[in-house]
């Protein structure tokens, strides 16, 4: 396994801190995470946070991933209204004092962890909104396992708050400490499946499946947090919100536990900001390996190769000429010595081989033979069949760069014929004349991956087939009416090119049609396995291929035109 920029993971779904916080605020709006704070008893504890009327304390909980550690967050509790009441003085002089807590802020450093949750703990769980319960319980428990990413209060120090970042406007040490510890204790009191501070649910397929739409489905998940870095500069408030919670995913039956680098301390530590724009809510990054070697390999290359293999090998083209010499000039994926004389019985077929951003296929064969008679012919017939598949960013009709898959096919045919006259008695071959003709036939398909206005992945298709490019020439006394017909049998080649199993028509109707059919559901299958804690209706906004040849998908809650 060669590790790429995603440090061994097949996909990373990076959700911005702003998105996570927006989800938390929605959970608070739904009262899953309580907004109202009412803590303590004046007689037992000496202080009360919150109360009725003007005393009512309302808090807003947010997280900040700027901790310098890859699996942690600051939990920030901002108080928006309310009073704290406490005893002032002692004995019979004690009076109850009130102080507003609007503007107070408590910051706790907490671990972010991932854990398995059983299906039966989801339905009816008050820490999970009804809509999310519905989404999660829709996954068949025999096929999918559900994890949650949560603020792990049990393993965090909730007794001590971050004294530097917290704001408590009081000099009363008793109030200060007790305020913080009561809030800390209150927050961490909900444990395990009752903990409402959930940042997301990765859903993994339990067993590997060969079904194409499942190619991008995670089969294992981990997490990391990433703090937005702006070189030496301190990030702005907006940029801070672009810190990310990363869902680190493996596919195709891989498990996190397979490889220490997937669960070790450095897992999911990226030296770049995965999201740089608050107009999107997150980004899905599909590793080059996954996109090319899983997705495209399975969807395009494998069936393509099967199709090419079904075309008769040109090596056997002049089987009728028993003494024909066969020279393999190039056969991609097969070791060939230059001009190797092939045994015509069985010779390995060419293979698609990986190029930087795709695949190529070349099969170049030359046949030569002698046709005897009173007028003999020395003949050569050469064919080069090539296919190129390339992924790049190309402008669409509106000049917007799009993730583009180009498939090109080309067929080159060359025929050479030398005519000799056999002059008895020595049957010397006397050169009479020669003729040659060549033709190049090509077609191309361009597929562009576009996020449609409905937020769904749309693939646009353009195809073209070009007329043959022809050349011919003669020397000596060589007369044929039409080189292209007589010598090259161009009609035959052309018909074959338009109809064989790798013709434009067949590639479009077969492989490409399957790709179009499967891709949307395949990408959806990947995305729907990341469930956000409040609402998770993500939509695709844009697809690109980055400098590492990883495919990046921008997504948002809703596409905007």
């Amino acid at each position: 396994m060669s590790y790429n920029d995603l440090s061994g993971f097949d996909m990373v779904w990076a959700i911005t801190q702003n998105t996570v916080n927006s989800q938390l605020s929605w959970l608070q709006e739904l009262d899953i995470i309580p907004k109202k704070v009412l803590l303590g008893n004046i007689d037992d504890d000496g202080l009360v946070i919150g109360g009725a009327g003007e005393d009512e304390a309302i808090m807003l909980a947010t997280v900040d991933f700027d901790t310098g550690k890859p699996k942690s967050a600051k939990l920030i509790i901002n108080f928006e209204s309310g009073n704290i009441s406490f005893y002032s003085g002692f004995g019979k002089n004690a009076t109850i004092k009130k102080q507003p807590i609007k503007g107070w802020k408590l910051v706790f450093n907490v671990d972010v962890n991932i854990g398995q949750i059983a299906h039966e703990h989801i339905a009816g769980n008050t820490a999970v909104p009804k809509e999310i319960q519905d989404i999660l319980t829709n996954f068949d428990s025999s096929m999918f396992s559900i994890q949650n990413i949560f603020l792990d209060f049990q393993n965090s120090d909730m007794a001590n708050y971050d004294t530097i970042e917290s704001i408590i406007h009081t000099d009363n040490e008793f109030v200060k400490q007790n305020f913080a510890t009561s809030v800390g204790a209150w927050i961490s009191s909900k444990k395990g499946s009752d903990n409402p501070y959930i940042l997301g649910y990765p859903v993994s397929r339990k067993a590997k499946t060969e079904k194409i739409p499942a190619i991008l489905e995670p089969t294992g998940a981990n997490l990391s947090t990433h703090s937005f870095q702006n070189g030496a500069k301190v990030p702005t408030e907006l940029e801070k919100g672009l810190s990310t919670l990363n869902f680190l995913l493996v596919t195709q039956g891989r498990k996190i536990t397979d490889d220490p680098s997937l669960y070790g301390p450095g897992a999911g530590v990226f030296n770049r900001n995965l999201v740089t724009d608050n107009n999107i809510d997150g980004k899905g990054i599909i590793s080059k390996n996954t996109f090319f070697d899983q997705y495209l390999q399975k969807v395009i290359i494998k069936p393509f190769e099967e199709l090419v293999d079904s075309i008769p090998d040109y090596v056997h083209h002049r089987k009728d000429k028993k003494r024909a010499h066969v020279a393999i000039i190039e056969r991609s994926g097969v070791q060939v010595k230059a001009g190797e004389q092939a045994s015509t019985s069985s010779y390995p077929r060419a293979k698609f081989i990986r190029s930087d951003n795709g695949w190529t296929y070349n099969d170049h064969v030359r046949l030569d033979w002698h046709e005897s008679g009173s007028t003999s012919h020395d003949r050569e017939s050469e064919q080069k069949m090539s296919y190129d598949i390339e992924v790049s960013m190309q402008p669409d009709a509106h000049k917007v760069p799009r993730l583009t898959l180009d498939i090109h096919g080309s067929l080159y045919r060359y025929e050479w014929d030398q005519v000799n006259h056999d002059i008895p008695p020595f049957k010397n071959n006397v050169y009479l004349g020669k003729g040659w003709a060549s033709a190049m036939l090509t077609w191309g398909i361009r597929l562009q991956f576009i996020a449609g206005v409905d937020g769904k992945l749309t693939i646009t298709k353009q195809s073209n087939i070009n007329p043959p490019v022809k050349h011919s020439g003669t020397g000596g006394i060589y007369k044929v009416a039409d080189f292209f017909t007589d010598l090259l049998n161009l009609h035959g080649i052309n018909d074959d090119w338009r109809q064989n199993s790798t013709s434009l028509k067949n590639i479009e109707g077969g492989i490409v049609a399957d790709l179009l059919k499967n891709s949307t559901s395949m990408f959806d299958n990947a995305m729907t396995k990341i469930v956000m804690p409040a609402r998770s209706q993500f939509f695709y906004k844009n697809l690109t291929i980055d400098a590492n040849s990883d495919v990046e998908i921008d997504f948002a809650y809703k596409s905007e035109a």
Binding site: N18, T19, N21, S22, Q23, S25, W26, E29, L30, K130, E131, D134, G241, N278, D281, V453, D454, A534, R535, Q537, Y557, K558, S559, E560, A561
Partner: protein, 824 residues
Amino acid sequence: MTATTLKYQAARLARIILQRDASEIESKQWQNELDKTELSVSNLIKKLIALPELKALDQKERASRMWNAAFQRYSSVESQSLDHWLGQIRYGLISESDLAQEFVKIANTGYRYEPCASPVDTSSDLFLVKAKNKSELVFSQGENKRLYLFISNGKNWEQIDLSAALVGYEKGHIQSVAVNQADDGKISIAIAVSKRFSDGSSALFLATGLDNGLNAADWIAAIRNMHKCTGIPSGAVISKVSFSRNQNNSADMIVLGATVAGAANTYYGSVEKNGDDWNLLRIPEDAKTVQQYALGTYHKDGMWVLYKVGSDHSLVFSVFPDKFGKSINISYTELPKNCVNFLVAPNSNSSVADVFAAGDEIVVYRASNETPEVVVSKTKNAKLLWHGYTKKTEYLLYRDGNTLSYIGKTKGSQWGDPKNLSNSLANFSVNTLDSSDELSLAIVTPGLGLNIEHLTLEGLSPIHSISVEAVWNEIPLTKTELNQAIKTASPKIYFDPDAEFLTSSVDFYLKKIGLWNHQENKWQVENGRLYDSKTKDLSIDALRAYARSERTNPTHKFDYYMQVDEGDFSTLVPGDLNDTKSYINAKFIPEENATDLIFWLFYPYNGAGVLMVDAPGVDKNFDLSPLGTHEGDWEHCLIRIDNDSLQPTRFYLSAHDGGAWHALKDMPKDMESGHTELYVSRHGHALYNEVGDNLFHESGGGSAIYHIGLVNHCEKGSSINLWEDGKTELIAADFLPQGELTEPLWLRFPWRWGRYKVFSQDEISGMVSHILSFLGDNPVSKPIKKAISDLIADKILESGKLGSESYSAGPGAPKYKSNWYGSE
């Protein structure tokens, strides 16, 4: 809410004439006849007035209803103009059968003599709210873009122009109104208004928490105290204002549809913040696919948007971007096919509103329930109109195809069967009633009546018919404003230095003339007796309906006329610049927001025409005497005043039987006073804005060898400044409230203001041969002679009589000229 898209012109005419709402069949038939131009409006009026049900009406009532119908005026107050028309019938000047056509003609000129617009409209905002006294309040936007309140004081319904209380926008045009009543009865009102005839830029006024027990005076005070919202994008032209409601049905957000610098957008602001902070509403999708949106609450504030995606629809609630710049979206599944609209119905038990959606069925999503409940299973392009609860029943009003329908669900049971609601609801507003299980509807009928009806599962039952008084299309000038405008607009009038026949006051003339009975060739009222020195006006004797000759009599129209006694000729004919004034008729033209001031000048005598002949051998002006001479002469000019600035904008100067419009910039100005200057021609008293020989009935000229024409010679001789005290008298301004101005009696005088006299053939032929003798007798002069003869013949024709003879006659009375009520 507008219920149908029918046209209501016939229904409206019928309601005015028949004083009842026409049945659906009747109005459909009559509207059809109008649409297919089988009937003109005036003929429909005649047809309706002849219906047997109106047999008992007297002539006055018939005329009154015809007048009102022509002006589409529904009012219990009789028109001030009616007397004039009845007088015309009495004097035998017009027959009743011609009235409808005459009235429609006048109505088409755009002048309005009394309020004619309706304070309720079929297509504008209408709101019904519950009042404390178990009655209702109705807010309506009138045809005149003003806001009216209909409020019951326990006995009567009062109609109040609330928009007149909007500080700084008293004369403004309402652009949109939103009225909301919360469950506790408190009323919120938002009004978008612009200055009339401005660029339309809006002001937004807001009042919340108004008590529903306010009386009329309280309401005016409440409107006067409305908060003028700040922070609206400057120059915004608001087309629609509405409220979104929270759980308790109280107004939560204000939503504005507004155009700013040509771009139409939607803005929202919170009621809590007094409508002082505004956000641009970004519809989170390609706007082209948006079919409808509504603001409201789904846990958090946000908006529902109904999108059309291909042939499919999707309904999504999007939370407004939170402090993190993110918005949550909630999708509704299983929408009705061919979804037409949705309706947000606050749910008192949940912070998520119910959402009804309609199309080929009607469904409701209760709170956050994702699976809809079917309300009506089979509908056709159904459109939801209103939803609400009474104590026991939940109601839904909707349109199914072209049928207005409603359905109810009694507590604890299923939705009942849909029922049809009457289709004669041109506009309506619904509210619940506290006390009972009924809905209350304010209904605007196709004929623009306003009714309150109650609706139960059994159907509609009429409660009140609210009397609706016609209102001004636009607010006219007050008497003070009018006087100010007259002072500003009054011109300086120059007379020719050689003019022998100058202007005088009417009194100057009336004091000496009498009423001549032409049939009997005797004074009907002797000279000197036509003037009542006590009233300083025409004697009432002049206005009696004296016996007329047969209509077939060639001189029928000259049965009676004012006549100068031979003995008074020398004193009357020169007029008297020291005893003269201009009489002003002010007319209101609401469409133009303008008032036309018609300055009438009276001359006791009109001199003869003057012919200019410039031909080989001749270059001379000839006096055409006696052609053109007559006793009495009324001339006028019109000055159009802009009602907002009170400044003149256009002028119409009369010249003989015609005249011409001039822009303000083309009018000469008196350097000293800044007032416009006008020049009166020497004999004919035509008005011009240029001195010199203003030619009239010209021929030849240019490269022709001759140039002839009638000369209206103007020079700056003596003058009168009409803005000076006593130099003008406002004699008519029908738009002023009744009783503010009393017309002089002489204005009602129906006959000619000078004698009828036939010229003898000798007089004319003598004059013609005198002119022609100057030209000699040669081939060159032949075409010139013909041109001159033609012109003189024209002059004769102009005076109204065919043949070789002509006559002289005084002018018709000003009020009986078509331009008194009509246009120039």
